[in-house]
């Protein structure tokens, strides 16, 4: 590594600075989001546009709270994403374990069926699911957002990949010690999989936190809105207050980016363990 660098110091600097410029371009929307969130709508559309953070964040948040009860919206998003992560995490982990560690009749067929969900467009189910939710009287409820995506094919796939790496001997020795199948799963299989579970949890949380079309369809009452739905509804207003909207957008994006940065090692490696093996 260092040998290549010392042999071509010029190329190394060129490559690094080239990528740094590209990264700066990629970062512009983030930077501008942080700046826009701290200015009033008028300032944002000034010429020249503001390039440094202003002092309007508090006012924007207050406007947001007034027009959309945004505190409630953030709590809705947090609650829905947390409960979803727990439940979907359990469903995917159990299924991944079942498929990875047992041989049973119909295993290939069942797994293939679940993986069909990866390629069938989600939109095909929107209308029937909406009708189902209406018949269950679940419209405007949290469970309507959470339930339909609990058996997430990608999550099951990810868990099966991670669990296939578990040494068989570990499970067999647990069995010889008289451990029941479920306890084996909880006490023997799960602990070494902590990084993969962290990746799954982060993925599920982000997925639900950012999901838009399904919550948009089943949540019609603004007291149940999640952040993306609330933001989209604010954007549709005649007098859109962009300062307030950008403050809300920053709340949706910035904490997630920070959580991601903190946990990214697990996330990327966990995702890739699932993604690239053939």
């Amino acid at each position: 590594m260092t040998a290549a660098r010392t042999r071509h110091p010029g190329r190394s600097i060129l490559l690094t600075s080239g990528l740094a410029i590209a990264l700066a371009a990629v970062a512009v929307p983030f930077y501008w989001l942080a700046v826009g969130a701290t200015h009033s709508s008028q300032d944002i559309f000034d010429s020249p546009p503001p390039l440094l953070p202003g002092g309007h964040l508090g006012k924007n948040l207050a406007t947001l709270q007034e027009t959309a009860d945004f505190g409630r919206v953030v709590l809705n998003s947090l609650g829905i994403a947390s409960v979803y992560t727990l439940l979907a995490g359990a469903v995917c982990t159990l299924a991944g374990y079942g498929f990875a560690t047992y041989r049973f009749r119909g295993r290939e067929a069942l797994f293939g069926l679940l993986m069909l969900g990866l390629v069938v467009p989600a939109q095909i189910t929107l209308v029937p699911l909406f009708k189902m939710m209406a018949e269950l009287h679940w419209l405007n409820t949290y469970q309507a957002v959470i339930a339909p995506n609990l058996a997430l094919p990608f999550g099951i796939f990810l868990m099966r990949q991670s669990m296939a790496a578990l040494p068989k001997e570990l499970l067999d020795s647990g069995r010889m010690d008289g451990c029941g199948e479920f306890r084996l799963f909880l006490r023997v299989a799960l602990p070494p999989l902590r990084p993969a579970l962290a990746a799954l949890a982060l993925f599920l949380f982000l997925y639900q936190w950012n999901d838009f079309i399904w919550p948009l369809i089943v949540l019609r009452d603004d007291s149940t809105f999640t952040i993306p739905v609330a933001l989209a509804s604010l954007q549709g207003l005649d007098e859109t207050d962009y300062g307030a909207i950008l403050a809300g957008t920053a709340i949706a994006a910035v904490p997630m980016a920070i959580v991601f940065l903190a946990l990214q090692r697990h996330f990327v490696s966990g995702l890739l363990a699932g993604a690239v093996k053939e």
Partner: protein, 308 residues
């Protein structure tokens, strides 16, 4: 857990039977119980709606009542100019944006893999970060950045003497804007998938190529690209599926406009279902979309997957 007796530990042939007996507590049901929640949920919230959707596509919804109309909705699709517009728009993204983005992602992955690059973890992370941003959030940011009169982008262009660009208000530019937003969001993600694959290519292959007198380009063509094949297939298929279903970005960024220039199949489906409440027709659109995803997916597997 009872400690195993020395006798059990030594008599190895007995072990399989013992473990089978232990499993007997649940019988052979154990594996099924593990996958049961997923299978039930999937059957109820995916398979059943998929079947129902097909049934709906054979009906017309008028004022909440449904009448069987057979293939009428599908025939209507065939001469619905808006459907063809949506299909064409989606197709343009597929043949222009997706290859450009994947080429960019490949270049980025190779750069991120290079031993010449300093601070690799920072770069890898930075380019992946847009993926974490929700579609609505980045759609809103882009719509403000690209505002024709007041947006930052046109202001910057003005500094170097370029006239304001009608990013979101003129058909071609609206498509370009959508492509830019998609590229911003997904390039890093694809690069990370490709990068993981790159790291599995044995270094000896590069050394061998160097011994054979291959330059940097030769090594890329004969070692890197073939090695990347499975990951390229994966990213191509994922991008295709994603593009065909494209909804959030055009919905937030342009609303499908101006003049339907960015109307995608996903947006058209949504409009039919939840704006006009024409569930039957929307379901026909959804089935047409599914057939398209299936056919394109299969073609791509044939073309890219034949050697692996």
């Amino acid at each position: 857990m009872t400690p195993s007796t020395p006798a059990a530990a030594v008599s190895r042939p007995a072990a399989p039977r013992r473990s089978a007996r232990r499993r007997g507590r649940w019988g052979t049901a154990a594996p099924y119980l593990f996958v049961l929640p997923a299978v039930l949920l999937f059957a109820g919230f995916k398979l059943y709606p998929i079947a129902w959707s097909f049934l709906l596509s054979l009906h017309r919804t008028v004022g909440g009542t449904e009448t069987f109309v057979g293939a009428d909705n599908y025939l209507r699709l065939a001469d619905d100019p808006l459907f063809w517009t949506a299909l064409r728009n989606t197709g343009v993204i597929l043949v222009v944006q997706v290859p450009l983005m994947l080429a960019l992602a490949t270049g980025l992955a190779v750069a991120l893999d290079s031993t010449l690059l300093r601070g690799r973890p920072v770069f890898r992370l930075g380019f992946f970060l847009p993926m974490v941003t929700g579609l609505v959030a980045y759609g809103i940011v882009f719509s403000v950045l690209l505002n024709e009169e007041y947006g930052l982008v046109n202001w910057l262009l003005g500094l170097v003497g370029i006239d304001p660009v009608p990013w979101l208000t003129e058909g071609l530019w609206a498509r370009i804007s959508l492509g830019l937003a998609l590229t911003w969001h997904y390039t890093g993600y694809n690069a990370v998938i490709l990068l993981a694959r790159l790291q599995t290519i044995p270094r000896e292959l590069y050394d061998a190529a160097a011994v054979d007198g291959a330059g940097a380009l030769g090594a890329f063509r004969h070692v890197t690209l073939p090695g990347l094949r499975p990951a390229l297939l994966l990213t191509t298929v994922l991008s295709t599926i994603g593009t065909l279903q494209l909804f959030d970005e055009p919905y937030v960024l342009t609303g499908g406009g101006p003049d339907n220039a960015t109307l995608t199949i996903g947006v058209y489906l949504y409009q039919n279902a939840f704006k006009y409440f024409d569930f039957g027709y929307a379901s026909a659109v959804a089935y047409a979309l599914t057939v398209l995803v299936g056919v394109l997916g299969m073609i791509q597997f044939r073309l890219l997957g034949e050697k692996s």
